[in-house]
């Protein structure tokens, strides 16, 4: 019975998205939006339990079998991603109850919930679908919806950021479409498993074409998931969007395209072909450069949300670094990093958004003594920042540990330096904010304790995310072994 749940999740999210505009009230929009996300969360957990017990499976969507019809492929990785996406979006939707009115005009609030449900539904579609063209359709839906949640706040800079994002992400989807067209003309299939069979048999005489196709996929999906030199849209979009939108964009939107990229490398082409081509080395290089350059750019920022946004570039660098290693452990570390970053960065964006909302201060230099005024929000920010720096008992440490193990296992010890330098650079921009927030005689002077703090009730959703960060930090082994068990099903 559980095998139809992924389809039901997507249907529930899409149908509820269009039920919201039928009611005018904000309350109804919240009830529909959040209950749809809740149903999807329960169904995704049940799917994961089923997949864990019985292994990966294909689900035929509609009445036609594989080469003609569309299929979903649900393994442990896809199941885990479903749970991750729904947990984070549930927390963000919960937080948005308290904060979204501040950013948006009353008329736009139902539209926000429509867009979020559309976005999460399409991202899950990208993760679940086993059909390349179907993935492309979901990519287009998610592009529009993610630009929508940036521009829904009707300010000048939002429109500018959203246009930049729209142009670059259309370029990305265009390249992906060209890649799909090339693969389709080579093989005559759109279903990933069938493409793989056909590609393996024609590989020797078409290796150039395959290099072009995989290059198109790499650049196209790289633009969308902020691979280092292609990340230019990200800081603007993440800085100016409302706090809930930036959390969703950073935690989920970037990740779905990476999962599709992993599926293209491992399911469509397969390691036997990709291993022959130089693509993974380039991805590894760009990931390593991104890990360092993203952090350096973050150090230079004066705006808090912009700094957190540049930190996303560095963290996505880790993911591409893991994929580029080309080993099972590297891939597992990359997927673990997806979890780590989704929880940590959504908590960071929500707490940074809270600080901005309550104090109106954007710049880091104005935030001295904020730890006294908003002690709990700042504590959440601190835990998030420490996790990304790699302090033990937080998920970021486990993630970096996994990368270190993967690098050593791959016999490329020199890359260990990149991981370490990147961690230290993270410390350089997170710690000043934290230290200036909590300590220093002159910065604490004249600040009233809990002056601008949110009520604890409104912080609960972020606390749930932080508990996730601590949970994966204390017992990350369970998740890692689950990911490792799921990786063979990707091939």
């Amino acid at each position: 019975m559980y095998n139809s749940y992924p389809l039901i999740i997507i249907l529930v999210l899409f149908i509820s998205a269009f039920a919201i505009p039928l009611f005018k009230s904000i309350k109804m929009a919240r009830i529909i939006g959040i209950s749809a996300a809740g149903i999807s969360l329960v169904l995704s957990i049940l799917t994961l339990i089923g997949v864990k017990a019985n292994g990966a499976y294909y689900f035929r969507v509609g009445h036609f079998d594989a080469p003609w019809g569309i299929e979903f492929h649900i393994g442990i990785i896809e199941g885990l991603m479903g749970v991750l996406f729904m947990t984070v979006s549930m927390a963000v939707l919960w937080f948005s109850i308290y904060s979204i009115d501040h950013d948006l005009s009353k008329k736009k609030v139902p539209l926000f919930y429509t867009l979020v449900n559309l976005l999460v539904g399409s991202l899950l579609g990208i993760v679940f679908s086993d059909d390349l063209f179907n993935c492309f359709v979901f990519i287009e839906i998610s592009s529009i919806a993610s630009c929508g949640i940036v521009v829904v706040k009707d300010k000048k800079e939002n429109i500018k950021a959203a246009l930049k994002y729209l142009i670059l992400s259309s370029l990305g989807s265009g390249l992906v479409l060209m890649g799909i067209a090339l693969v389709y003309s080579l093989t005559g299939h759109l279903n990933m498993a069938h493409i793989h069979e056909a590609l393996v048999s024609i590989y020797p005489e078409h290796s150039r074409n395959m290099l072009i196709a995989i290059g198109l996929f790499t650049v196209g999906l790289g633009v969308k998931s902020a691979m280092f030199p292609l990340h230019t849209w990200l800081p603007d979009a993440h800085t100016y969007a409302p706090a809930s939108s930036s959390a969703l964009l950073s935690a989920l939107v970037l990740k779905a395209y990476v999962i599709l990229y992993i599926k293209i490398i491992h399911r469509v082409f397969g390691m036997s072909i990709v291993g022959d081509l130089p693509v993974l080395n380039i991805v590894l290089l760009l990931g390593a450069v991104g890990m360092i350059a993203g952090s350096v750019l973050a150090i230079l920022q004066k705006n808090l949300k912009r700094m957190v946004a540049y930190s996303s570039v560095a963290q996505m660098g880790y993911v591409f670094f893991g994929i580029g290693l080309g080993t099972t452990m590297g891939l597992a570390a990359a997927i673990f990093q997806i979890f780590n970053h989704a929880f940590t960065k959504s908590a960071l964006f929500l707490s940074a958004g809270s600080i901005l909302e309550k104090t109106g201060k954007k710049n880091i230099s104005d935030l001295k003594g904020i730890g006294k005024e908003m002690p709990f929000t700042m504590a959440i920010f601190t835990i998030g920042g420490m996790s990304l720096v790699g302090i033990p008992l937080l998920s970021g440490f486990n993630s970096k540990w996994n990368f270190a193990v993967a690098v050593i296992e791959a016999h490329r010890v020199e890359l260990l330096a990149v991981v370490l330098i990147s961690s230290l650079l993270n410390a350089l921009y997170y710690f000043p904010v934290i230290i200036n927030g909590y300590f220093g005689e002159e910065s604490l002077e004249g600040k009233v304790y809990r002056n601008t703090e949110r009520p604890l009730k409104e912080l609960l959703p972020i606390i749930v995310l932080v508990l996730g960060v601590i949970y994966f930090g204390v017992s990350g082994g369970g998740l890692l072994s689950l990911i490792e068990a799921g990786i063979p099903a990707l091939n």
């Binding site: 139809s4 269009f18 505009p21 039928l22 969507v61 009445h63």
Partner: protein, 147 residues
Amino acid sequence: MNNIQREAERSDILTEVGKLIIPFIQVFAVYVIFNGHLSPGGGFAGGTILGASMILHRLIFGWDNLISRLTYERVMKWMCASLLIYGALKGYSFLTGGMHWEVWDIPLGTPGKLLSGGFILPLNIAVGIIVSITVYVFFKLFYEGTI
């Protein structure tokens, strides 16, 4: 400003030809939508024709006519209702097909008759409504600057 000036210069020829031609366009649009499963055309093609007739009506007769009742809220309600119907029908079909359930389907009817083709006819009608409204709303957005 420019738009209002243009509306003031509305000519009699335009009005009379519009009165004559718009009903035919709309009947043809409905024909294309309802025969999508029998002949070339369908929801998308018929929807654009219907949307074009609405745009023509708006250009010729201006804002003070029947079309003024199509407010943004109202067309959005129609569009969302159509999308819901589309999602529910297609989702039902996807789900029953994927689960191999032998349950009730829309009867197929005799091939070649208007009422045949199972899900295609209701889906075409929903698509027709969605596309016509989208075309009209886009026009309104670019012509008047607001929706």
